[in-house]
Amino acid sequence: MSDETNATDFEQRTKHAFDDSVAALDGATRSRLTQARHRALEELPSQHRAPWRALVPAGALAATALVAALFVWQRPQTQNPVRETALVDLEILLGEEDLEMLDEELEFYGWIEQQPEFASATDSVG
């Protein structure tokens, strides 16, 4: 017998041995394989979805963007005291009356700040 014939015969015998071993699998293993197959088939993407469901992700994104915009718009302005003080200062500086007052009373405010008996009182305010 040639080498090639031997190889073919050998391949057939090994294939036969493997097929027999597959056929000899016990019921418990086959049952678990069936369960595994069903589990895998659950992953199958459904093709019966209603057409409107394709718009669900876009709708969810738009709703999220709207909520975020409303949140930013409605957010209370007192969250940043430093920024708030700066705005108040700006308002005072831009108001004509306040500027006139500062011009007239500037010397007085400078003097009162240097007085030790007023220092603690001004520090504790605000």
């Binding site: 190889a7 597959v22 000899a24 699998l25 293993t29």
Partner: protein, 203 residues
């Protein structure tokens, strides 16, 4: 493989709804390959639970990622996933083995249980079972002596009946490499099993 294809062609020609066309052929394909894939994984991994996990994982990945691909591609893709999972487990075991041996332990204690691995007996003809079981046991032992790529090539070509091109896809290599690995595997296995047979007859 042929069964899955014929069902796919038949259902496509019947023009049923999309999900039915998709589900029935892939279910038939999985039913056809699951037991064989399990045996292949068991030869490599030698642990029933892990072999079952590997097969389930491979089936899930195939359905998840490739269910919509032409059914002709399922077999090589499925076996490619299966082989990758097998290699992952083997790599993990090798690392665990190295770590355990570094600390003075052995990794093989929980890996090989001949009772668990023994195939369940069939009821029709006990004498025939013993002979067939012995033959496969000898083949498995010889297969484990082969380099991993030769073993893969042999099992995919011989056990699963994939052609050279399909085996190349499943193994992620060229067709030339498949031919080389397969040819070497056949020759080495034949020599090993011949020696095994001679030893048996001398005893």
């Amino acid at each position: 493989m042929g069964l899955a294809l014929s069902i796919a062609q038949r259902e496509a020609s019947l023009g049923r709804e999309g999900a039915l066309i998709l589900r029935a052929p892939i279910e038939a394909f999985l039913r056809e390959v699951e037991a064989r894939a399990y045996r292949i994984a068991l030869v490599h991994i030698r642990d029933r639970d892990e072999a079952l996990d590997i097969v389930q994982d491979a089936m899930i990945r195939l359905v998840n990622r490739y269910a919509k691909r032409p059914s002709e591609e399922w077999a090589p893709l499925f076996y490619r996933i299966l082989q990758n999972r097998i290699r992952d487990i083997q790599r993990r075991r090798a690392v665990r083995s190295r770590v355990l041996s570094f600390f003075g332990g052995t990794a093989s204690e929980d890996e090989h249980d001949p009772i668990v691995e023994a195939p369940a007996p069939r009821t029709e003809n006990p004498l025939e079972q013993v002979t067939a079981g012995d033959a496969m046991e000898a083949v498995e032992r010889a297969l484990r002596e082969l380099p991993a790529r030769q073993r893969e090539a042999f099992m995919l070509r011989n056990f699963e009946g994939l052609d050279v091109a399909e085996t190349a896809v499943a193994m992620g290599c060229t067709e030339g490499s498949v031919k080389t690995h397969y040819s070497r595997a056949v020759h080495r296995l034949r020599d090993m099993l011949r020696e095994h047979g001679e030893e048996q007859s001398n005893e």
